[in-house]
Amino acid sequence: MTTFVFPYRHYVVALVLLFVISVTSALFGAVMGLTNIALLYLLPVLVIALRGDMKATTIVTAITVVVFDLLNVPPLFSFSVHDLVHAWSFILFFLVGYTITYQAKRIQANAIKEMFLDTLSHDLKTPLSSLLGNVSLLLKDHPVDSQTRRALLLQINDSGQRINRLASNLLDSARLKDGNGVLRPEWCDFEDIIGVALQEFRYHPNQHRIEVVIDPDTALFWGDCALLVRLMVNLMDNALKYTEEGKRIRITVATDRKTITLLFFNESSPIKKSDLKNLFERFYRIDDRADVGGSGIGLSICRDIAAVHGGTIDARNCTGGVCFEIRLPIRKASDHPIGEAL
């Protein structure tokens, strides 16, 4: 999931390393001897294997073996191998590569599982403890005045909504992990999608501060409407959480012929650069505001939803607040322009 940023970065690293090693071995090959050169050539294999991606390992190892064979194994610049020992070392390259890839995969899976459980227990236990605490207050024998009672009940309602949102997020995230096959595209109207997302916050005390501006030329968008609603809900949730009392939130939908751009603006103090970069990483949360009730998984799902639609999401500090910008390419043009009643 971390490969959305630039999917082939690790290939580049391994191949540059391979190039450097080839140059080194060409220059100092005579001094080093074939065994040492072979060991050097294992480095790119190790580097790529640590990614835990079998396909990448196979490709890079194959390239490495070919380059090693051409440049260093006599007869030079040919694929023929005189000594069977060399053929054996080629197989070893793959063996080492696959073993490390397998181990790296296991370690990654464990790390993800751990982070997942950490986040889940935080995101789940915070609303749960608020919910149980408030319920136990209401269950106590001594009476509470009606105003306090209502406040407690609103808290309980809010916690319930949060748990509900978390459950929806987890379900959608499981769906997204399966890849493109589960995308259920249909014609979506962004005005409608925003409306449905706003519905989820209809009891939120600050929901009226969300202002919606939609370019009248916005056409229907061919995408997974349910996932796009989730995207909107998560970003609204985020904006509502990080916007102080009396500050504004504005959602703008703009379009040209090729892209739809959704801009979420909320008035707030700027976010640190390092935080901006990591905002969309799974389970990342701006630490010093842990009391806000984590969105460890919400924003990463936003990124995944944008990605399955072939789009991008960015966060940046803009004048007076924070901007989240989602750009979705229009992949199928609607022949029914909205705004032009027929």
């Binding site: 109207d189 005005e191 409306g195 449905v196 706003l198 409407c225 029914h336």
Partner: protein
């Protein structure tokens, strides 16, 4: 409302069934609970309930067959209770003859409103056929006109037909395919583009804030519902 109407609750989760029963009794209904299909059939035959709440995820079989069986035997409102991500099942249940649905987790107020409007439809208390009003909208079928706050709305023929179809089915969930078939005709069931486009333009004309629609509510993945129930909590 008839005094002490009987609601049959078919739900295998005891906590939810008990909560539903408690809340319905507070509202003046009598309740009967069944935890699986078999006992539900028995309870239905023995007691002839006035309304049925049916959880789709029952241990012993498909709720849709139950809906079909009931439909052949009695005219009683059926409201389906379902987990999220089961939109297809919900549409199939509506096609099988269910009257409405709520997704878990649902609010009791919302369920109560759904029950009331389903009952009203069954008791034939649907709005008078020539002039239907809802909020600040008045539809005059004889005159083929619609007014909002007294002012005539400029609607295209399709927009008018769509609004009319909605207002003849107030508060009722209307699956996409059904709307397309009724308003556009057979063969148009899959033309979601038409529907979305016209909903958008109709909202622009009848809603006060199209991004926060008060009349035409989207039921994600299922269809639309024209809200006209002062008792629906908002």
């Amino acid at each position: 409302m008839k005094v002490q109407e009987l609601v049959l609750i078919i739900e295998d989760d005891e906590a939810i069934a008990r909560m539903l029963s408690l809340s319905l009794r507070q509202q003046g209904y009598k309740t009967l609970m069944a935890t699986d299909m078999q006992s539900a059939h028995r309870a239905f035959r023995a007691n002839r309930p006035d309304l049925i709440l049916l959880d789709l995820g029952l241990p012993d079989g498909d709720g849709k067959t139950m809906i079909r069986t009931i439909r052949t035997q009695a005219a009683v409102p059926i409201i389906v209770i379902s987990a999220r991500h089961e939109e297809k099942e919900v549409i199939a249940s509506l096609d099988a003859g269910a009257d409405d649905y709520v997704f878990k987790p649902f609010s009791l107020d919302e369920l109560a409103a759904r029950m009331r409007s389903a009952q009203r439809r069954f008791q034939g208390l649907s709005p008078s056929v020539n002039i239907i009003s809802c909020g600040d909208i008045i539809l005059d079928i004889a005159e083929r006109s619609a007014r909002k706050s007294g002012e005539y709305l400029k609607l295209t023929p399709t927009e008018y037909n769509l609004l009319k179809y909605f207002m003849l089915h107030l508060n009722q969930v209307l699956p996409y395919a059904r709307i397309l078939k009724e308003v556009w005709g057979v063969g148009y069931q899959n033309e979601m583009q038409y529907l979305r486009t016209y909903i958008n333009s109709l909202r622009k004309k009848i809603e006060t804030d199209a991004a926060r629609p008060g009349y035409i509510r989207t039921e994600m993945g299922v269809g639309y519902r024209f809200i006209c129930d002062t008792t629906t909590p908002e």
